[in-house]
Subunit: 355 residues, 2 copies
Amino acid sequence: MLGTAVAPGLRPDMAADEENAPAAPVRTITDLARLAGVSAGTVSRALAGNSLVNDQTRERIQALAREHGFRLNQMASRLRRQKTGVIGVVIPLGHDRRQQISDTFFMTLLGFLADELTEKGYDLMLRRVIPDRDKDWLDRFIGSGMVDGVLVIGQSDQFERIEEAADGYLPMVVWGNHQEGQRHCVVGTDNRLGGKLAAERLIAGGARRIAFLGDTAAIEFAARHAGAAEVAARLGATVEVLPTHLAPDSSAAEVADHVAVRGQDFDAIFAASDAIAVYALRELGKRGIRVPDQVRLIGFDDLPIAAQTVPALTTIRQDILGGAKAMVDLLLRRLAGEETESLVLPPRLILRDTA
Amino acid sequence: MLGTAVAPGLRPDMAADEENAPAAPVRTITDLARLAGVSAGTVSRALAGNSLVNDQTRERIQALAREHGFRLNQMASRLRRQKTGVIGVVIPLGHDRRQQISDTFFMTLLGFLADELTEKGYDLMLRRVIPDRDKDWLDRFIGSGMVDGVLVIGQSDQFERIEEAADGYLPMVVWGNHQEGQRHCVVGTDNRLGGKLAAERLIAGGARRIAFLGDTAAIEFAARHAGAAEVAARLGATVEVLPTHLAPDSSAAEVADHVAVRGQDFDAIFAASDAIAVYALRELGKRGIRVPDQVRLIGFDDLPIAAQTVPALTTIRQDILGGAKAMVDLLLRRLAGEETESLVLPPRLILRDTA
DNA sequence: CTGAAAGCGCTAACAA
DNA sequence: TTGTTAGCGCTTTCAG
């Protein structure tokens, strides 16, 4: 990191509060109470806008608070009230997903979650964890007393651990894949159906030998592959997995490798994510393989980039915004004690120019 | 949101703790103390791994804690210790930046910040704010008692407000542009220099009439433009601003419009960000305008996508990872009372195929 | 309508 | 080495 250090500007002393009074430091509710000539309890009530305080005293106290820039200590308030107003969001970086917090799909989901939670008056505590290194990642977060509920972004390879946590903890909602009879509340796309849609499209276009670029250790990807394989089997085509991880550095190299070594063996590629598809598209272009004439290509997610490639990427869309809203909605209902069901969102085939 | 609701699996009653004892709920340190036959103080010390506790009792207490899945209530602990272990990260969505939390650049920075903070043992509290709606956004966060320090991602159009906050609050570091004599500690790219590099490259390639696609209400973008304009003036070229906002929906349309209406007036485009550059590239392609032969194009940021476009995007790289590390490092030093200087990172021209 | 008092669950002197 | 005690700053009964 070669940068230039720059000296800060002069910091003028803060203007003396009033006249030349020695800046009364009003940090606690008790300070404010003394100033207002009332008790701490009254200040607390006044600040809460609470019912039964004399309108005048309330006004007066609020004005005083404003004037002195007073804020409640949330830590104390929340301890006392036994609720934090904070929702924890965890991104488990399991199996090959090192450094994948910057994964575009998850980050987009995170952005929407932040918007939704803010909307509902909650703060968001973000935690990235590496389950292999910290077996206790989920329980630690849940039991920390720092959050009222937990949102998990992606099951990674932690399905079982999440199941266990869900047995003793209601306010948790997970983004991921749905399994028959699972116990944790999940919101996610019907990955299997998405895989089917992709394979159908590819095969309808004439494909017979499909390469699946992705890592089937991740449960979502496994489902996408399974859906494609099912359709292929039915329609007389094949799907072969060419393991491709998501870490930004390895991903591009792996794709290049697959195309170089096995490029001739396939007439179609089903990429487990748009990110992978973009790499594939570029690699095919480099080698002069025409898309979709020689090789058909289809992605998954419909990230903004999908519409911007040349040729534009045909893909399976996940409803990220809808998913985020649903996650927050379900979580709030669970916070209220309701035992909600999981929600499986339908994927949609977005036809563009690569398949 | 049309989805399929799915019933949760059966939730088996939790196995009775031991034998058939009526599940002792050990939630507080006092519960644990009773169980261990010691005082709360000792438990606290034991759990903290603290020095002067008998090795045996410590072991015993820790085992007991594990066995009962006990966790400290962080809210209480943190209130008592007067430190939260949480760093607040704010993304102000000022001027045209509605919904821009999903902006790729900021999200990438956020990802790295999360990694760095985790590394240092801090939690991250994320808050997206709309300054126009909440004038008090920064002070509210700072004074909430929920965070030990604050990282601000982007100055948006809130330069003055951040300056004011910095006068009374040391542990804050901002990502953004550096101004002569400013009072808040900032980490960021030398945007002006970046603008110069871009213009120099464009003009060296033969450009004379450069369009700047961006919104100069944002201070970083204004600096990029200013740098380019300075170089252009010196070398006998011109730079004209074609206002382009960053919100994902408006951005593409605005770019299309600019290219359609003014496309003939320019022989080069300097895009304020890679996101905008990608739109421009696509739009030029659509209209059969050859890049870089007819129009040279250069972006800013060097996001992963820049290497993936066809032709690959020439751009000005910002060192996001280095920036994130620096922000955290400076913040920790400020937390320790040091009055650190700002850090200006050098941008770097990444030559690819569009200029 | 307001004050006094009792904690939320934990930590850190200060004693023992 | 451990127990006791006094709070962190706030909210909320319960009296008045």
